[in-house]
């Protein structure tokens, strides 16, 4: 059976992180560090989420002179709602997966 969109563990980890503070703007590098995703995995996910209208993007002024502007991201209202649904739907399977990998897990 085909997998539904935005249900991969990588996407869910991005959504989960963005949902922790849905009104804050997040940097790509920080998202990569916090989710453990490589840039080549993270950015296509962000791009797709933005295309689907789940993610809002904004260029910010550089904090230090000479640095380029940075791209920041946060969930849209629709994105936050959809992300909550996706995470709730995926919660049982994610829990099972976690238990299976934990020491002493089944």
């Amino acid at each position: 059976m085909p997998r539904l969109p935005n249900t991969s563990p990588q996407t869910l980890s991005v959504l989960e992180l963005l949902l922790e503070s849905p009104r804050s703007w997040h940097y790509g590098y920080a998202l990569s560090q916090l989710t453990g995703l490589k840039s080549g995995t993270l950015y296509p996910i962000l791009l797709r989420l933005a295309d689907q209208g789940w993610l809002e993007t904004r260029w910010t002024e550089p904090e230090q002179p000479g640095r380029p502007p940075r791209h920041t991201y946060r969930l849209t209202g629709e994105g936050a709602k959809a992300a909550r649904t996706k995470l709730a739907e995926a919660a049982p399977s994610r829990m099972t997966r976690r238990l299976a990998f934990e020491p002493g897990g089944r």
Partner: protein, 300 residues
Amino acid sequence: MPTHGFLGRLADALARQLLSWLHRRVEPGSREWLDALIAESDCADDGWQRLRWALGGVPLVWTINGRRRMNEPTRGPMRARIVRGVANIAGIASGFAVIIPATDLATYFFRCHLFFGNQPGGCQEHPFVFASIAIGGGVLGMIIALALRARFAAYWWAVVSGFNTVGSVWYLRSGIVDLPRYGATQSAMLMAATFGVVLAAIMRDAPWTETDHGPVHHVGDSAGAPASFLSRHRIAALLIAGTISFAMADALIRMRDRHLVADNVNHYALLGSAMFAAILAGLIGRHGSRLSAKGCSGTE
């Protein structure tokens, strides 16, 4: 440690070169996401981290360019397909147009024969010459294919060059002098198998979808738009294409006792399998596009 410092600076320089090269690979109107990744590369602590970050730009550029191609209006699809097909065939044939005469010339010059076996007077006694022809021909084929914008042929020759390089090094290290007998069959088999995998990887319909190959989403479609069966199973279909190519290459090699193809059987087999796989891949792509255009749902 000075060595670490030097390597770190080298990695940093490589990262910057890679990002600069990637930047040129994306047309100006589609650079937003790549610019975002490049801007974040300044946050890396050292050269190695920056290089790792920059390497992520490769799949991103692939994604961006793939998305752009999918959204381009199809102008004269049949004509475009013919032009692309001719360019690819020319790209593949051009490499062989160099390799086959060069091989014949070398056999004439060294007065040796492309035996299928370790026989006296065989060309296996000149491994460097024939390896150079094989690798050089592959690289030249790749350059010509790139000049012709024949993506399929370029990948084809890249794989040929890579395989021949590995094969030559293996051959020279092991001292196997019976390369033609084993090499012809094995190289065709491995080439076809590798080719299937490479083809599957490069011909994915929607590379910007998530890494778990979820349903295809064209930009502008609704988020939950279903994908066609072939869109979802494209990789499997192309692997099957590669497997059929392998069977074809193997069958051709088994015809080697026929004088017509005996000497250049390897080349004919590879050329034949490439052409066949190209046609098959084209048919799969066309069928998939038609299903998508019709809005076929993935509900099974």
